[in-house]
Symmetry: C2
Subunit: 213 residues, 2 copies
């Protein structure tokens, strides 16, 4: 994707990527229309097929690009030194939402990929990539003794993840309806509020002194 469009001006490139992401997110592969994609991207039909020889290749290159972008961004922008799982989740969710400001449909698109699977050859590769990253997120240097004892750790972790996912989904709905960019500061505050509640609920009681005024 990057190599294919490397000489194209940034703005046009983004329009193509975003238009394709939107069309493939809203429709199944078969019903997604290349006519719609070029119309929304503001380019001619010929140009799209000049760069991507077929609808299949476009989709294939797009999913490759998206998987690579998401996993690499997380890998690079995360602070891997901390041992607090919730903080790690928070970082991931903020990274995703920042990506969404640039590529509004990237999250929806990647969710569809994970649900429906994709071209087999690629699927193996990126699922492995994702799986590796997730193992790293959950296990590398994480201190699980922060959680209260006697609770179902697996379920609690899922509650926390689900909450973050829902916050993300809500932001996306807002973005779609208003068209304005997401207010990252407000969102960060929101995420932190929710995670504070969840930490207070599921982490061992902390030293009150540290948070004293």
């Amino acid at each position: 994707m990057e190599e294919i469009l490397k000489n194209m001006e940034e703005d046009k490139k983004n329009r193509i990527i975003n238009s394709a992401l939107e069309e493939f997110s809203k429709n199944s592969f078969e019903k997604a229309s290349t006519n719609n994609i070029v119309k929304k991207a503001g380019i001619s039909k010929g140009l799209l097929f000049h760069y991507f020889n077929s609808k299949h290749e476009l989709f294939h290159k797009l999913e490759e690009y998206v998987i690579h972008l998401i996993t690499n961004t997380i890998r690079k922008q995360m602070d891997w030194s901390g041992s607090d799982l919730v903080e790690r989740f928070k970082q991931i969710s903020l990274i995703k939402i920042k990506l969404m400001n640039h590529y509004p449909y990237i999250y929806d698109f990647s969710l569809e990929l994970l649900k429906k699977g994709s071209i087999e050859e690629l699927k193996g590769r990126y699922e492995e990539d994702f799986a590796d990253l997730m193992v790293k997120v959950y296990q590398e240097n994480i201190d699980y003794t922060l959680f209260k004892e006697g609770i179902d750790l697996q379920k609690v972790v899922r509650i926390i993840q689900w909450t973050l996912e829902k916050i993300g989904e809500e932001s996306f709905e807002k973005l779609k309806q208003s068209g304005e960019r997401i207010d990252l500061e407000m969102l960060q505050k929101d995420v932190e509020d929710y995670l504070d509640i969840l930490k207070k609920a599921f982490y061992k009681v902390q030293n009150e002194e540290e948070s004293h005024d």
Copy 2:
């Protein structure tokens, strides 16, 4: 819907409803195909247009039917006497999932309705209906002093709702992939486990004596 198909044998009626729900859930109205609907329902094209004069009418009657079915089922099957909000949520979520066993795509379909809106005339009517029901759920006879003091009640309630929604979405994914009906007993156990965790986290500490062996 019910009146239109009243003389039809139950099985064929369900096949039509479920096929239409599926097609309209997976595709936007425009891209949904009446050819697909009749194929999956196992009926002829002519028959569908004999009962519903147009694709628009089919969709319209379908949404009317679904909204009515969901709200009425909740209204009737709920135990409105309790004052525990979490228990009320639990009931709603189990009712929804039971409906999903009969109409697998009813939940997806209704979500799309709420997101995208629908035909204007109907929209006003059923949104009001939904809103009324929700007010009843949240306010009629609910004891909010069960929650711990000093927490952000609104956010806590949303965490609980989101958790139930995610459990429902997961059940639906399983249903789609396996095709088997949902094991309601296992699911109920699951819902209760999660809600126990959330209650312990957000409700005031209860008398331990009652749960003593």
